[in-house]
Symmetry: C2
Subunit: 423 residues, 2 copies
């Protein structure tokens, strides 16, 4: 799937063919925004722009794609020729990745000839939607974890391989320390972590033999999984092996009453002077369990965050739309009940009270006052990059700076609202 | 990402290296199953096997992958050589795609040398999990839709492009009539459908001009979107245009009180003798809204099912595991609380009462009695295909036959349980 041109919905192409037939090829602006945040999100994290820019570059119609489209019997030769020549060469305005964003803010705006910018609708929504969903989920674990380490363990239950890979990237932006996902590690240099599975323990005749065997392969330091048979016994065994000179950097708990078991395990390790052996917790971890376990005093040093994060289980989608807001310089507004949009290419300005975010205002592009901080940046002009693409570390640092400016009331799991004024 | 070898978690490889070092390379069996169905699923639909077989074939470690793994400083040259030669050549047993399945049934079982079958864990879970999640969601809409057409409109809010493409396939298996997703249309010949977006209407000076323009491009028959400005006025306009000779095959409603509006639109169309103009409903459609709207008498001919289906919003993941069940011919059982597994390579037999499914029993492979219907099939032997891969239509037909045998109590949205006896 090198060409990507068929990563779209049929109606994008049927509309485009009709636009061309009727000479509707002037400058249009489409805006991608979220109408309303989910009940359990106080803010979102802009994510996915780098991927979108790569995809727009690769959005082409090759022979195979055109042959298929011709077979549908809906498209004229002249339109198929148009598609053959299609190269995305429009302007893209975006709120950079790692920024905190809210309802009604234009995350991505695309300005160009109507058929060209209509055709990429599905691709634009799909790419930004998913990565924003998962970054916005991941950052909640970061905010409640009180500085403990977080590692993405979700690859296996992501909605496909691609989802797992981009979720690892999103979670690293959102403050995770690493991932178990090797492909994400290779692509972006994200630190990779892993321990052992229950299967490893079960292969050997005893837990003792399993732990020793693993440590033999990794003499520089192992993490032992404790809950295959009996967590407490495995903690005693770990202490015994460390006394014998085996290097253990941590233990992992994956089931049972986590705060209770972790406390017992910590006591056993500490009583043997093993204060530097870390406790890693996994199994059903999300921001809710992290918050609850911390309130119960769980002595965890790190959390392996998996399924519920990678599927964003409590809010698996956003009410995100890509709407026409301007055509031939004229504002466009749709009037369907409950689905109003805001016309024109727009800028967002953020206003602070001291160092804290106070509210945002969105303005028609060019009409924004000189006050406040501009969020929207022109990233492509005529399809060409206008700004430097930030590295993953830079995006992560930007979000960390953003989080410092987030009002404390907004950083918990209780629902809070933030004002976005539309001017 | 041609090689796929890095589509795994780090610990699969660290364990494999240790297995090799300690000579743990004998025959192992891993079993993929769902421990417990979600609260809002009465059954699951087996889905994803064809993709898994393709992925296993492509699961390799090329130069780029090996260079990355070497850079991690955890792997010896001998292990990297093992990975360079890695070709999946184990046995795969599976419950075919399109089968109805339940808790504790081995959807996929992989039998082969321990390191080889351990390494693909992440890939196996990821592939079968997602497609089973989404097929099991889609079939619920099919069951409550009372024969009305269903079309997948979810691509834009799927968790990535790949998720959207495979979800289209899964939904077609589950009884949908087609998809808006062109790439899925090309790959599997799934019928593609599309109407027009609000943007199309807004580009023209009036709805009248927009409808006429679209019909000019598609004189063989258009579907008009009615809710851009005023649904009722748009219905009157549609009737007027049909009277003028414009061919309209349907209208789409995407917002508002759907049963109420659809009823009014139907009346307007019928009063003009346009009984053959179909009403297509979209916007927040899932099995719950379909059931509710039908109970309110909605005169819809088709539903465009999108976001909530493609993210499986009410059950975005399954409690699915890939567990070691046998090694060197010995059964393996893990004893963590609440996470027991069932040992050995297994067969499932389904027992009927008349033509209705009554219960299932799972047996150690080779010990199953001659009664009941066998669900598990050996699909790969030594990495080579042992059975014909069914076409998408065949899989869909299999599921349609399965649904006829599902007890009526199981086919609604109310929670019901089905007995799976473990022998």
């Amino acid at each position: 799937m090198k060409a990507l041109g068929l990563c779209t919905d049929l109606y994008e192409l049927t509309m485009a063919q009709s636009y061309l037939q009727h000479g509707r090829t002037s400058r249009a602006v489409f805006s991608l925004f979220v109408r309303k945040l989910p009940a359990n999100r106080n803010f979102l994290v802009s994510c996915g722009l780098e991927t979108l820019l790569e995809y727009l570059e690769r959005f082409r119609f090759g022979d195979e794609e055109l042959r298929y489209l011709r077979s549908l019997g809906k498209f004229r030769d002249s339109f198929l020729d148009y598609l053959r020549e299609y190269r995305f060469s429009s302007n893209v305005y975006a709120i950079p990745e790692g920024r905190i964003i809210f309802q009604n803010e234009p995350i991505v705006q695309i300005e160009g000839p109507l058929p060209e910018v209509q055709i990429v609708e599905t691709l634009v929504i799909n790419t930004i939607h998913f990565q924003t969903v998962v970054a916005s989920k991941a950052v909640r674990s970061y905010l409640v974890s009180g500085g403990r380490s977080l590692v993405d363990f979700g690859f296996r239950r992501a909605h496909g391989l691609e989802a797992g890979i981009y979720a690892a990237r999103a979670s690293y932006i959102a403050g995770f320390d690493g991932t178990s996902n090797l492909e994400a590690g290779r692509r972006w240099g994200i630190p990779v972590f892993g321990t052992m599975a229950h299967s490893y323990i079960m292969i050997f005749d005893s837990e003792d033999e399993a732990f020793r065997s693993f440590a033999q392969t990794y003499p520089e330091g192992s993490v032992f999984l404790l809950d295959t048979y009996d967590t407490i016994e495995a903690a005693h065994l770990t202490a015994k092996l460390v006394k014998e000179g085996i290097r253990v950097v941590g233990v992992r708990l994956d089931s049972g009453d986590i705060p209770l078991l972790a406390t017992r395990v910590r006591e056993i390790l500490d009583s043997q002077g093993l204060r530097d052996v870390k406790i890693i917790v996994s199994g059903g971890v999300d921001e809710y369990s992290i918050e609850e376990w911390i309130s119960r005093g769980v002595p965890a040093d790190a959390f392996g965050v998996g399924t519920k994060f990678i599927t964003s289980a409590d809010a698996p989608y956003l009410d995100m739309a890509y709407k026409l807001v301007e055509y031939e310089g004229k504002p466009k507004v749709k009037k369907s009940p409950g689905k109003a949009t805001f016309p024109n290419l727009r800028q967002v300005r953020r206003f602070y009270s001291g160092t804290e975010m106070d509210h945002d205002e969105t303005f028609r592009w060019g009409e924004a006052p000189e006050e406040g901080e501009e969020l929207v940046v022109k990233v492509l002009e005529g399809g060409r990059l206008k700004t430097k693409i930030p590295s993953l570390s830079e995006i992560r640092e930007l979000l960390m700076e953003e989080l410092k400016r987030l009002p404390p009331r907004m950083s918990g799991l209780r629902k809070e609202n933030y004002e976005v004024i539309i001017k």
